[in-house]
């Protein structure tokens, strides 16, 4: 399949390892990533707070770029997915649409509403399908217990995201099982990572992150995995702060979703930029039993 690749800001900057792993997975599965150097940031939920219509217009421009090329969009961030999709929903309001159109039309940009925005998780579980993913697994992650952490904007608001059940999703766990890992069930998997107030009230953000990590740990997780680089920032880059807030040793490796899949496809830690994580991932990888031994 061929799809417009919307990497989002972080995967091009501080979460480059997410981009590396995405390319690995897509190459293996024959997903052709078409790149558009004119995509802008999605606003990350913050521009939405400051100016809703501006945020919709920025994303209508992004949507129109893919639409014009006749391609659907691939996101690798729960927040990008949420913002692009929310723009699709809110632009249906005639007042909003006329304001956005008035800003875009003079630029020769037209958003028709035909483009679909899909997160990599959806592409892997629905478009490619789990049997095809399974067929590419060279090193099943047997023995590794992984707590999926979905990220709010991939799931909610469910009616606007057209997501699977917002409170009891299972696609991520299905994917983890398909690559041989053991998914861990815990309440925190659908909770918030705290990122939106990481700057505003770090103590709150870090406590929230710490509690979700503790929850995953209490349910036996060797690692967590997330489809959102903002969650990754909260859970990995600020895990030291989270540990301090919940007063516990956490030492929880946190993978980006495509890193887990690529590991099972045979990629090396170097190819996936695992050394860029703040929390070392080797202990989790060491849990993987060699094929045939389990």
């Amino acid at each position: 399949m061929k799809i417009a690749y919307y990497p989002g800001c972080l995967a091009q900057e501080s979460a480059k390892e997410l981009d590396m792993a995405t390319r690995w997975v897509c190459r293996t599965l024959g997903i052709e990533l078409v790149e558009f150097p004119n995509f802008s940031c999605c606003g990350s939920g913050f521009i939405d707070e400051a100016n809703e219509v501006l945020n919709i217009a920025i994303n209508a421009r992004n949507l129109a770029i893919a639409e014009k090329a006749g391609l659907d969009m691939l996101t690798i961030c729960s927040t990008c997915q949420g913002m692009l999709n929310l723009a699709k929903v809110r632009i249906q309001d005639p007042t909003v649409k006329s304001r956005v159109d008035a800003a875009l039309k003079p630029l020769g940009i037209e958003y028709k509403g035909t483009v679909q925005v899909k997160h990599l998780l959806t592409v892997l579980t629905q478009d490619i399908g789990l049997p095809a993913v399974k067929a590419k697994v060279r090193r099943p992650l047997q023995g590794m217990k992984v707590g999926a952490f979905y990220g709010c904007h991939l799931l909610r608001p469910a009616d606007e995201m057209h997501s699977e059940s917002a409170e009891e999703p299972h696609s991520f766990e299905d994917l983890l099982a398909a690559v041989g890992a053991t998914p861990v069930d815990y309440r925190g998997r659908v909770m918030c990572c705290g990122f939106p107030v990481l700057f505003v009230k770090p103590k709150t953000a870090n406590t929230i992150a710490g509690r979700q990590i503790l929850d995953a740990k209490a349910h036996g997780a060797d690692a967590m995995a997330t489809p959102c680089p903002l969650c990754h920032t909260s859970l990995d880059a600020y895990q030291n702060k989270a540990a301090k807030q919940v007063d516990a040793r956490l030492d929880m490796p946190v993978f980006h979703l495509p890193q887990v899949v690529a590991l099972a496809f045979g990629a090396t830690p170097e190819e996936l930029g695992l050394s860029r994580h703040l929390v070392r991932t080797d202990a989790a990888i060491a849990k993987v039993q060699p094929s045939g031994s389990a």
């Binding site: 150097p37 940031c41 700057f199 860029r276």
Partner: protein, 324 residues
């Protein structure tokens, strides 16, 4: 077992503070039709098996909002949640009291934190004494004004949103989704004369602590959509007061940030939010992250078609006029 019934295991949270050392879960198994409301099951337990089970309920029709509780970790009204789907997904029904409010006994919580926050927003119309409402006559509103109320009056104050809110869980200062949705209702009421004052007052330790995780919107049995109304309040608060709080500075700073390259400049954003002096406190963690991810210091690539983005900003986000 009667025809068309299934065996339903309930694991019910039991706790009497002051008497029990710690909470425990008690298993009760009932034969119920799959469409039976969980509240009906709990009342059957209380009436037929264990009269000591404490729970709160009244109308049984999802109107009074008394029977909100945690059902398999979700904030729900027990009267409108059926056993069948829960059993199918979880194999059992775990019933716990609402979160973020102290337990009084079993499934009954002390709702004072919830009501305290509600009262704090002054949930009543503040009219202009110089322009009293005409006695005995309706005050007309335009359809557009009424449209803004379409969701918030549906609230039944069940506190399911408060129970689901991670900000309320960690931050006792956070007003919670219901109080903020209620505040919105008064802020957009054309009869209320305290819009500005309300929007200014709610900002420190209030509005900007919302995580926009939408867990409240998901939990709400009446589709009040608190998280979306909180978003509206944030935009209105910036319009009234400008970017004066850390939260509003971050939101406005983010908006301004894209103007350079169309992609986020992480360093510039930190500076916009904290100011140069405030950045000092961020240095330690910044260096820690930078050693693994040096890109946080780099300027982002400028997108192609930046002129388009500039024009969108010019059309939809014109610079604010200076205060006279």
């Amino acid at each position: 077992m009667a025809a068309d019934t299934v065996s339903v295991p309930f694991d019910v949270y039991r706790f009497q503070p002051g008497k029990d050392a710690r909470p425990r879960y008690q298993r009760y198994t009932l034969d119920l039709a799959p469409h039976t409301p969980i509240l009906t099951g709990l009342l059957q337990i209380r009436d037929e098996i264990d009269p000591t089970l404490g729970l709160r309920y009244s109308c049984r029709s999802a109107i009074c909002g008394s029977c909100a509780m945690q059902i398999n970790s979700k904030s729900r009204l027990a009267c409108e949640t059926q056993v069948g789907p829960e059993l199918e997904r979880h194999g059992r029904i775990v019933v716990e009291p609402m979160r973020n409010q102290p337990v009084l006994r079993d499934l009954v919580v002390d709702q004072s934190p919830f009501w305290r926050e509600y009262n704090k927003i002054e949930p009543h119309l503040k009219l202009d004494p110089r322009r009293p409402m005409p006695a005995g006559q309706p005050t007309a509103m335009t359809p557009a004004q009424v449209e803004r109320f379409k969701e918030t009056p549906r609230c039944i104050a069940c506190a399911a949103c408060y129970s689901a809110c991670p900000a309320a869980e960690v931050d006792p200062e956070f007003p919670g989704p219901m109080a903020l949705a209620k505040l919105y209702r008064f802020v957009v009421d054309p009869r209320d004369t305290a819009h500005q004052e309300r929007l200014v007052r709610i900002q420190p330790n209030g509005l900007w602590l919302c995580l926009r995780c939408h867990l409240c919107t998901e939990a709400c049995p009446k589709d009040v959509r608190p998280s979306e109304r909180i978003r509206d309040l944030k935009e209105m608060a910036i319009a009234v007061q400008g970017a004066t709080e850390l939260g509003s500075r971050h939101a406005v700073g983010f908006k301004e940030n894209l103007k350079g390259a169309g992609q986020i400049n992480e360093m510039k954003l930190v500076r916009a939010t904290f100011g140069l002096t405030g950045m000092v406190g961020q240095i330690g963690q910044g260096i820690r992250v930078w050693r693994k991810k040096p890109e946080i210091m780099k300027k982002p690539r400028k997108i192609e078609g930046m002129d388009e983005l500039d024009k969108i900003y010019a059309a939809l986000d014109p610079p604010a006029k200076e205060e006279p």
